[in-house]
């Protein structure tokens, strides 16, 4: 590490993950550089880079997804390596290949592995060969409704429709009976076509009481592959993760060992390198099935960092430049418990994403609290991207301490001007299934109802007073006053309260 010359690392991403990778680059003594769309000019990831290049207009197809322009940026900014973050081009094999062809280092696995894992069907085939158990389903992606319908009936309902090119829940549908099939197949097709430019879908048996459990993998270019334990990601809504934790409170020690070791073996078999995550579906009897592999750093990597002490983004960069893993499997043991809350700008009742001006923003801090975020007071949330505005992750000696710490941190998260899902998190933390630590991916949809909270009488009264005082300050904004103290008080209140 010391002997390496400082490198210029382009982070081909935006928002919190761009900031997070830039911090890792700086800790290693490298210089982080950025790309941005015109809609992101005011994102913190631009301000905190050493150099930045505008790659186009707001919609990501016109900016962050344009391979040629991103490469142009990398050349203009004299990048030695590119970290793709998550989303956007992070799992695009063509991009990884183009980066290598342009003589730069792609911080991630080989284009071949990305390509294999990027297609759900080829991923299933490869992982079956590499020794992982699969959920029964179709092997080939298709757009043919009739043959898909026939196969669905063979597998037996309920079945899952999934996008061959998919991720993040887009193009995914659960079909409970024959009647729904065609309509849902079409919708999944259209969503998948739109999101990935590839409308092919495949089918899978629906697993009952499913847990989404994933294993973090870290591998170097010298054949060393380690797991960094598992994450429980079953708190989901519409296949979007909401809360993640590590260790999983549901997995028993035997399954934990088996699933982590299986992931390592599979990655060794396919010659995986850099960071990756294998997602498993685990049923109520602790049977696990390979679901998919994400060939990049995950959104929820902080919980793994909390319990392992590793800095996965730094590890990624070092490994990409040829260093061996900084640890051996036997060096790391899970320490305590970590929970991450994804803070979305969305209506917590109707789950509608919210764009707009963040007029009030104070994020929590203190013992056992980590915040990854790119937002600030006055930040305008663009309409073009994912609505996640912050990740609050907490650590405790045990799960109970982490939950209490999470609750206090969430209650100290001041976000105003837009609606967020903080109230949802507070209610989820009090949900009996969550508290027990045995919940499935169906919890939010089947077994949870967001309660429209009515504030306490006193809260409401004090809120009304606050509003009346603010309105009072506005009304008198231009009137003359005799006392210096009064006018000073008013001018402060005017500036501060009313934006």
């Amino acid at each position: 590490m010391k002997s390496e010359a400082p490198k210029r690392i382009l982070v081909a991403n935006r928002g919190e993950i761009a900031l997070r990778v830039m911090r890792a680059a700086r800790e290693l003594g490298h210089s982080p550089v950025a790309i941005y769309s015109t809609a992101d000019r005011k994102s913190m990831h631009v301000a905190h880079s050493d150099a930045a290049y505008c790659v186009g207009e707001g919609p990501s197809v016109h900016s962050y997804l344009k391979i040629d322009t991103v490469l142009e940026a990398a050349k203009a900014l004299k990048a030695d390596a590119i970290h793709p973050g998550y989303g956007f081009l992070s799992e695009n094999a063509k991009f990884a290949q183009a980066v290598a062809d342009a003589g730069m280092i792609f911080i991630g696995p080989s284009p071949e592995v990305i390509s294999t894992m990027g297609d759900k069907v080829s991923a299933r085939n490869a992982m079956e060969k590499a020794g992982l158990p699969l959920v029964p389903g179709t092997k080939e992606g298709t757009t043919d409704e009739a043959s898909a319908f026939k196969q669905a009936k063979e597998i037996g309902f309920p079945v899952m429709i999934k996008a061959s090119a998919g991720g993040g829940g887009r193009g995914m549908r659960r079909v409970d009976d024959e009647k729904q099939f065609l309509d849902l197949f079409r919708r999944a097709h259209s969503e998948s076509q739109k999101a990935f430019g590839d409308g092919r879908l495949y089918l899978e048996k629906f697993v009952s009481s499913p847990h989404h459990i994933e294993v973090q993998i870290m591998a170097d270019n010298h054949g060393n592959v380690c797991h960094v334990f598992e994450r429980e990601c079953s708190v989901q809504r519409r296949h979007q993760k909401v809360i993640e934790e590590s260790p999983s409170p549901f997995l028993n020690a035997e399954t934990r060992k088996a699933v982590c070791e299986a992931a390592v073996t599979a990655c060794k078999n396919i010659g995986y390198r850099n960071a990756g995550t294998i997602e498993f579906l685990v049923d109520d009897k602790q049977n696990f099935y390979f679901m998919e592999m994400n060939t990049r750093l995950q959104v929820e990597h902080p919980v793994t960092e909390w319990i392992s002490g590793l800095d996965l983004a730094k590890e990624q960069i070092q490994v990409a430049f040829g260093a061996p893993l900084s640890f051996k499997q036997s060096d790391i043991r899970p320490n305590g418990h970590s929970i991450e809350f994804r803070i979305y700008a969305e209506d917590p009742e109707k789950f509608l994403p919210q764009a707009g001006l963040l007029r009030g923003a104070t994020l929590p801090s203190g013992i056992g609290v980590r915040v990854d975020s790119h937002v600030y007071r006055g930040y305008e949330i663009p309409v073009f991207y994912d609505s996640m505005i912050a990740k609050i992750s907490v650590w405790g000696r045990d799960r109970n301490e982490a939950m209490k710490r999470g609750e206090v941190a969430l209650k100290g998260t001041v976000l105003n001007g837009i609606r967020t899902n903080v109230p949802l998190h507070l209610q989820l933390l009090r949900h009996p299934d969550f508290m027990k630590g045995n919940y499935t991916t169906r919890m939010i949809e089947d077994n949870f109802k967001f309660e429209a909270v009515k504030p306490e009488v006193n809260q409401l009264k004090m809120g009304m007073i606050a509003v009346a005082v603010s309105a009072y300050a506005t009304e008198f904004e231009s009137s003359t006053m005799d006392s210096d103290e009064t006018s000073r008080w008013k001018s402060v209140s005017r500036t501060e309260a009313l934006r």
Partner: protein, 167 residues
């Protein structure tokens, strides 16, 4: 100065007086009390009878939001003066059977036709925003009076999408 502050359909009167830089507030018919209010960076805090209330207030014109961890509280506020002026002008709140866009986005699919009947919970329109499809449901029973948008159209927040006739 007297203000009418409304939350949901609950309206209260809050009187605010500033005497030599000290704030006195009375709530409905309760006796007036001193409120020790200070602004601290982006937030403010009050002390009333030793009880502390931390607030982050944002707003424009008559609409304010006060942060609350369990749910941000939305208020509308009107001064006595403005209310009188408004009454003189004969303003009236309109009964709203208008379905509007809650955020900017694109109309992905229209699920109803003009003249069709709807009941509460029926899907009306699928909007696409931030890479997610979201279905907008009817909150009332009635018929579709007019559809104001087309599939594929981009709309701003607040745009009128569909007008309904309640039955």
């Amino acid at each position: 100065m007297l203000f009418y502050v409304k939350y949901d359909n609950e309206e209260h009167r809050v009187r605010v007086e500033n005497r030599r830089g000290k704030l006195f507030v009375s709530f409905d018919d309760e006796p007036e009390e001193e409120v020790d209010l200070v602004y601290q960076g982006n937030d403010c805090s009050f002390i009333r009878n030793h009880e502390v209330f931390f607030a982050n207030v944002v707003g424009q014109q008559s609409e304010y939001t006060v942060w609350n961890p369990a749910k941000n509280m939305q208020f509308s506020v009107e001064s006595e003066y403005r209310r009188i002026v408004g009454k003189l002008r004969g303003q009236d709140l309109q009964q709203d059977n208008r379905v509007t866009a809650k955020m900017p986005g694109k109309i992905a699919r229209i699920m109803v036709k003009e003249g069709g009947t709807v009941k509460p919970g029926d899907g009306l329109i699928v909007m696409e925003a931030m890479k997610m499809e979201n279905e907008i449901h009817s909150t009332i029973a009635g018929t579709v009076k007019r559809i104001r948008v087309k599939e594929g159209q981009a709309v701003e927040s607040g745009a009128l999408l569909i007008e309904l006739n309640p039955s």
